[in-house]
């Protein structure tokens, strides 16, 4: 034994120096290094297996090399063999697991590739069906919009609107020549002078309209629960009603349930023809108990609707306030239901759209966190800058870097004097002129007699149409229509206020110019000259809208209808 080990350097080392402190230290150092290297290369489970493997070999061979008693050697050989067998088996298992993970990853990668390919094919198919060709996705978004066939329409429509407006003004002018004052003569160059500005505005508005139309399409296609807030008369109802038409196109099976607390018949057109269920209450005339009872009844009915459904909850600012004050428990239940809808509604295809005037969380009866569960849409107008500034001062929606002024500038650039924030683009933009589906224009306080998008044909109506004339004048695309001087020496707001006053009269009712002027805070506050007002009434009398009761003293008049 010793003779064999003399020629073997390894055996020499083991025989001579194994028990020395120096070599034990060297062994410990080497084993630690090997273990570190193994641990670095392989995970902990593999390290244990390799350690078992090495230990098994050591148990088997070292007793033989050290010439230990045969019985002990044999026993240790069996133990070492068992250890090696177990370690080898475990290493086999580890490698099986690693191979399985690799195969799973490969399968997942193949599935993702397949899914991506399927999705791309679906998009290509959709584009093919919708546009007749597939848009080149490598093009920038702006160019894609330019080549998209649907995007060419709005610009043409705007140009057509402008041409129709000019034609309408021209058609009305000859009939008024006898009654026109010098101020009207002065107005003509101003109108022509507005052209370059208007052109620029039209181009900008067209771009804005394209963007916002795309945004509305996106919102309609991918429904979420959201809150629409805006200053009074900002166009929340108009926006939502237009959006609902798009929603109906994308989701024909969606059950649209409208709860509106204003009860204004003039705005019924917003919902008619698109909503499956319209519940209306005149909130101001009803008692709080009746209002809460009505709300609870509506909500019960809405909850009972099966399948995909959308709840439009209009005038929430007022209704929530009444509700909280009157019956807090059911209001809390509703808030819980709303939270559930916002978190789980998407999978159930249940949505809620709140429409209100304020975005303050406290006024909505919730915390800011819960308020943020619903996606925000905010609309402001330059007709009421004070209210717009108040809304922009809240944290409901972010302001652009330039601040509130930038938003108001967007309003001024908008053809309808409005700016809108939407959660899709997460930015403010000028709001384009949307079709008024209610039939009542709150800007001019007048009823629409024709389809909003169809420009009026002057030759089709031989009789002077005062309302249409005034409406056209008021809808001129100027940066600040409310401040620009208009016909009869009155501004657009003044004319609309007078028109509102007259239209509120019953045909045949007798009233007086003085009475109208005094009853209107707007007219009184803006110090309308009596002569300007008289000129307007002279025009109305000429067009047989009113009749003076005393020709020599034009104070009292009789409303003949026709506005």
């Amino acid at each position: 034994m010793s003779g064999n080990s003399v020629g073997n350097p390894l055996m020499q080392l083991l025989d001579a120096d194994l028990n020395s402190d120096r070599n034990r230290a060297i062994f410990r150092f080497l084993l630690a290094k090997v273990a570190t290297a193994i641990r670095y290369v392989f995970p902990a489970r593999a390290t244990a297996c390799y350690s078992g493997l090495v230990l098994g070999f050591a148990l088997t061979f070292i007793p033989i090399a050290k010439n230990a008693p045969v019985r002990i050697t044999l026993m240790l050989t069996f133990v070492g063999a068992g250890l090696v067998a177990v370690s080898a088996h475990e290493l086999d298992e580890i490698q099986d697991d690693i191979d399985e993970v690799k195969q799973q990853k490969e399968r997942d990668r193949q599935l993702r590739l397949y899914a991506d390919t399927e999705a791309k094919n679906k998009v290509a198919e959709t584009n093919l069906l919708r546009h007749g060709y597939e848009l080149d996705k490598s093009l920038p978004r702006e160019l894609q919009q330019l080549v998209a066939p649907s995007d060419g329409e709005p610009v043409r429509v705007l140009d057509a609107d402008r041409a129709a407006f000019d034609a309408a003004v021209t058609a009305v002018q000859p009939k008024q020549q006898t009654a026109q004052s010098p101020s009207v003569e002065e107005q003509q160059p101003q109108l022509s002078g507005d052209h370059p500005t208007t052109k620029t505005t039209t181009v900008a508005a067209a771009h804005s309209k394209n963007n916002f139309t795309d945004t509305m399409q996106h919102i309609a296609q991918r429904l979420v629960s959201m809150t629409v807030v805006g200053v009074p008369g900002a166009g929340k109802g108009m926006f939502v009603s237009n959006l609902l038409r798009l929603v109906r196109q994308h989701h024909p099976q969606l059950h649209i349930f409208v709860m509106e607390g204003k009860g204004d018949e003039k705005e019924a057109g917003y919902w008619q023809g698109v909503a499956n269920d319209i519940r209306s209450i005149q909130g101001l005339d009803e008692s709080p108990l009746n209002i809460v009872s009505w709300i609870n009844g509506c909500l019960e009915d809405f909850k009972a609707v099966e399948g995909a459904k959308l709840l439009i909850f209009d005038e929430v600012t007022y209704l929530y306030k009444v509700w909280q004050t009157t019956e807090k428990e059911s209001f809390e239940d509703y808030i819980q239901y709303k939270i559930g809808l916002s978190s789980m509604g998407d999978s159930l295809q249940n949505y809620i759209w709140e429409i209100g005037q304020v975005s303050n969380a406290k006024d909505l009866g919730v915390t800011a966190g819960i308020r943020s569960l619903l996606k925000p849409i905010a609309i402001v107008s330059n007709h009421d800058r004070r209210a717009a500034n108040a809304l922009l001062g809240t944290k409901f929606v972010p302001l652009p870097e330039e601040g509130k002024k930038a938003v108001m500038q967007m309003c001024d650039l908008s053809e309808c004097g409005r700016a809108v924030y939407d959660y899709v683009n997460d930015c403010w933009q000028s709001m384009p002129q949307l079709p008024n589906l209610s039939g009542f224009d709150r800007d001019t306080r007048s009823f629409a007699t024709s389809e909003p998008q169809e420009p009026p044909a002057p030759e089709a109506d031989p009789q002077p149409n005062i309302r249409a004339d005034l409406e056209r004048l008021l809808s001129v695309e100027t940066p600040e229509p409310s401040r620009a001087p208009k016909r009869f020496g009155l501004t657009a707001e003044q004319i609309s206020e007078v028109q509102k006053r007259i239209s509120s009269l019953q045909p045949g009712a007798i009233s007086s110019v003085k009475n109208i002027r005094q009853n209107s805070r707007l007219l009184r506050g803006q110090k309308i000259m009596q002569s300007d007002l008289a000129e307007l009434f002279a025009y109305l009398a000429e067009t047989q809208a009113i009749e003076w009761l005393a020709a020599n003293d034009p104070q009292d008049f009789r409303y003949l209808g026709g506005l």
Binding site: M1, N4, F42, A46, C49, Y50, L53, G56, F57, T60, I64, A65, N67, V70, R71, T73, L74, T77, F78, G80, A81, V84, A85, S87, A88, H89, L91, D92, I94, Q95, I98
Partner: protein
């Protein structure tokens, strides 16, 4: 390079352990030398047939391709490695103990 290589080395080394254990058992229980001798003869036969087979393959003999040294469910090379480890384990133990 994977754990599979180390695993196979561990499995095949068991053959070497078996050879060593058989020799150690023969030292304790001399009748086992008969088994050692028999296994030695079988090993010699294995290597003879292996050499014949290799020679036949090299000479392009058809019958050589039919021979298949399939031991413990592994192919000829691995089978040879197992036998070699068995022999090395047994011989090394003999040299160390005797």
């Amino acid at each position: 390079m994977s754990h599979r290589l180390a695993s196979k080395f561990g499995y095949y080394s068991l053959s070497g352990f078996a050879g060593s254990a058989l020799v150690q058992l023969a030292v304790i229980w001399p009748q086992t030398w008969i088994a050692v001798g028999a296994l030695g003869v079988l090993t010699v036969i294995y290597f003879v047939f292996l050499l014949v087979c290799i020679k036949g393959v090299l000479q392009g003999k058809r019958w050589a391709g039919v021979l298949n040294f399939n031991l413990l469910g592994v192919d000829a090379i691995e089978s040879t490695a197992i036998v070699l480890l068995f022999v090395v384990g047994g011989l090394w133990t003999c040299l160390e103990i005797l």
